[in-house]
């Protein structure tokens, strides 16, 4: 569609989705599915070639059966649910904190000058190095695991939101200034809406990181209900390879799901006017 063709009034939403989206869905999903089949096939092959050492790479159907095993199946899903809760709580806190922090930096230059270096430092601290300290201060339970998630997921929210707020077009800003708009009006009617694509892009990155944070937290802080990370570490130590693979698989799937969810949410929120990837 060229820029200068006048859209007719009756077919206004034609721009919402390119035509043939339904037809292209097959070509979108088929190649990765074929690849998946190939990978599963080669796992069987490698399993066969390993002979006695085939516990290193268990057969996929054996891994799948773990989910229906009454001893381990429910435990895995329960642990996953618990880690998901930690990740989501941490993510929500990181999103709220990150957006508020960025708004504060955007509204006063001195806040940015004073605190942004610490956002960068926060990002550079090796999280594993401060795990003992977090446990030491906040205990070895839910709260500590959530804090790990927040620490790991905060930076992308801060930097993306700040970038979004500050990338507002100069002409747009002047349009508001000419009408004597207040800082609050400019924030709520111009800067925040303009920053939404960047905020959602940040949330998608942070979501993935929050899942990593939850699992890392599980490894270190095992008091209370165990998370999926605790199970992974237990199965690994006991060489229960089908259970280990089954746990890793659901943890990964959860990461993918939450990534897809935020992509979907972003498209829902700004897809009409912004090409959200």
């Amino acid at each position: 569609m060229t820029d200068d063709i006048m859209p007719t009034t009756t077919t206004a939403p034609a721009l919402a989705r390119p035509r043939g989206a339904r037809g292209s869905r097959v070509s979108l999903w088929l190649p990765p599915l074929v690849l998946l089949a190939l990978i599963i096939g080669s796992v069987y092959l490698v399993n066969f070639l390993l002979g006695k050492r085939n516990f290193l790479l268990p057969q996929p159907h054996v891994v799948f059966q773990v989910y229906f095993d009454p001893k381990n199946g429910p435990a895995i899903f329960e642990a996953l649910l618990h880690s998901a809760e930690v990740a989501l709580v941490g993510l929500m806190i990181a999103i709220a904190l990150g957006v508020l922090w960025a708004i504060a930096m955007n509204s006063a230059k001195w806040v940015e000058r004073t605190t942004f270096p610490y956002a960068v430092i926060l990002q550079s601290i090796p999280i594993l190095a401060i795990m003992p300290l977090i446990g030491f201060w906040f205990g070895y339970d839910f709260a500590a695991r959530v804090i790990v998630c927040v620490l790991i997921a905060l930076f992308p929210m801060v930097s993306n939101t700040l970038f979004g707020l500050q990338s507002v077009d100069r002409g747009h800003r002047e349009l508001f200034l000419l009408q004597g708009a207040s800082a609050w009006t400019i924030l709520s009617k111009l800067e925040l809406p303009a920053a939404l694509p960047a905020i959602f892009a940040g949330a998608r990155i942070s979501a993935g990181l929050a899942v990593v944070g939850a699992i890392v937290g599980d490894f270190f802080f095992q008091r209370g209900t165990p998370g999926i990370g605790a199970l992974i570490s237990k199965y690994g130590a006991r060489l229960q390879s089908p259970e280990l693979f089954a746990s890793i698989l659901v943890a990964s799937l959860f990461g993918v799901l939450i990534f897809l969810f935020f992509g979907w949410l972003g498209r829902r929120a700004v897809g009409k006017w912004y090409d959200f990837g």
């Binding site: 820029d3 063709i5 859209p7 009034t9 206004a12 721009l15 002409g171 009408q179 009617k189």
Partner: protein, 249 residues
């Protein structure tokens, strides 16, 4: 008309603009725009034409000289349409009234009238990205019209449009000018656009920007698009282009 025309709406006296880096953008500029006048400033790019407009609107403050503006109802049309991409045509046109705290009902009525005036009726629900460049500029015009401006400041609004769209928008702007009786201060680098639209053309030279010549445009309003092809029109365009070249050298 004569009684109202005596008092200038916008009055620049000996205006100078020096930027912090030492660049002198404008120097000794005297310029008035009265009710019923449509003044166009032409000049080479970088001569400070836009700065002139930014000072008039209050976006920048002159470093020397006085600027008097006898109204608060100012329409400002930017080089780009500056529409908010997440707002529909309707919501974009309503924006300025919304910023002034106008009631929803009044906003709707104003937007409807303005959208109608620029010929965008039926496109209210479209987002800017579904519009052509010309239609975006119309939306931008409509947005300013909701303020019911006494003076309109135009910063090369049609510079990015193709020739045909530009001429059509020029015709519509003239029609709006005749209908709404606002004063206009228009910036362009197209001499024929300047002559066609204006009652007065001001020629600027660059670095520092000074006014080198002023031409009254003798054609009556409303204007017939065909005057663009008359000898008199071409003669005036020639004279102004000549002044531009002189000022440039």
């Amino acid at each position: 008309m004569a009684s109202t025309a005596t008092k200038a709406l916008l009055d620049f006296t000996d205006v100078q603009m020096t930027f912090p880096d030492g660049t002198v953008a404008l120097s000794g500029v005297d310029l008035t725009v009265s009710r019923g006048e449509f003044v166009t400033v032409v000049g080479p790019s970088g001569c400070g034409k836009s700065t002139l407009l930014r000072i008039a609107s209050g976006l920048e403050t002159a470093s020397h000289g006085t600027v008097e503006l006898d109204t608060t109802r100012i329409g400002y049309v930017f080089q780009d349409a500056t529409l908010l991409p997440w707002r529909t045509v309707q919501a974009n046109v309503e924006l300025l009234a919304e910023l002034h705290g106008t009631s929803k009902a009044e906003r709707l009525a104003k937007a409807k009238e303005a959208i109608d005036l620029v010929g965008l009726t039926g496109f209210e629900k479209h987002l800017p990205r579904a519009l052509s460049g010309g239609m975006r500029m119309r939306t931008s015009l409509a947005r300013s019209l909701t303020l019911d401006p006494e003076i309109f400041l135009f910063d090369e609004p049609f510079g990015a449009l193709d020739e045909i769209t530009r001429e059509r928008l020029n015709d519509e702007l003239l029609k709006l000018f005749a209908e709404k009786q606002f004063a206009g201060l228009f910036i362009t680098h197209s001499v024929s656009e300047a002559v066609y639209l204006s009652t007065k053309v001001v020629v600027m030279s660059g670095r520092p920007g000074t006014i080198v010549d002023t031409f009254e445009v003798p054609f009556d309003m409303p204007r017939d698009p065909e005057i663009r092809f008359t000898g008199e029109f071409a003669g005036l365009v020639g004279k102004i282009s000549h002044a531009l070249r002189e000022g440039h050298n």
